[in-house]
Amino acid sequence: MADTHPLVRLETVALIAVGGFAGSNLRFFAMGLLPDVPSIVLVNAVGSAVLAFLVYEADYANRLTARTRLVFTTGVLSSLTTYSTFALQTALAARPLALGGIVAANYGLGLAGVLVGRLLARRFGVPRPTGGETA
């Protein structure tokens, strides 16, 4: 951010910290509901999809303020998703097949999530008054 005033920067960091609290708790909640590997695949896929939606929405419609965007992207979503746990699960995989499966699931569904988010941003992001209902 271009904001250089120490107080503004402090406020930005504080907002990101609040987002990080929420995002990590959501991930922790998912880890309680599902087994280790599927829970990380789920948060990574969903987080990638929502982040992609917000990033591409900025390209098309840009309805949110920079501050709101920062709290959700850098704060919540980046903390909801994780690379370290995924990498550790991959490293500790007992068999080559399991290792390949973990990588394929995270990378495959993560990238698929981005494409879904992009598609939704394109569909809902562009302000089109005549959505096709008129003749």
Partner: protein, 142 residues
């Protein structure tokens, strides 16, 4: 009077213990620290090595975070400390969503080789970092 005081201390002690063991608070606190550290690190990396082409900051946080998580897990840390440092700080410091969005954006922009390389190199380096963490813990334990 003295009894009341003792009870107060006892109650304070109990309250502190309860807060200490609440997993969601521990993870959330770690998450707040991890997200702030990621933001500051990203700012620093972008300032020092201003690279529009390569998402270097995300690469750095993911490899460093994987290394630290490896250290914590292989050192045999458990309970609240693992939740704070592992699930909270390392989990939030590293990010998969920024990584996947940045990779797709590279690909869209025409840097297809770079996009594939980013995905591959991030994985290989993170795994190598975990291997290094394991080695460090093994050597230190000797």
């Amino acid at each position: 009077m003295s009894v009341l005081l003792l009870e107060g201390i006892d109650m304070l002690g109990r309250t502190a213990a309860t807060i200490d063991l609440e997993p969601a608070h521990v993870v959330g606190t770690g998450g707040a620290i991890g997200a702030s550290l990621r933001y500051v690190t990203t700012q620093r990396v972008t300032e020092r090595l201003s690279s529009e082409r390569v998402p270097l900051a995300t690469f750095v946080v993911n490899v460093v975070g994987s290394f630290v998580l490896g250290l914590v897990v292989f050192a045999g840390v458990g309970g609240s400390t693992l939740r704070l440092v592992g699930t909270g700080i390392c989990g939030s410091f590293t990010t998969f969503s920024s990584f996947s969005v940045e990779t797709v954006r590279l690909y869209e922009r025409g840097d297809r080789t770079l996009a594939v390389a980013n995905a591959a190199v991030t994985l290989v380096c993170s795994l190598a970092a975990i291997g290094l963490a394991w080695l460090l813990v093994a050597v230190t334990a000797l």
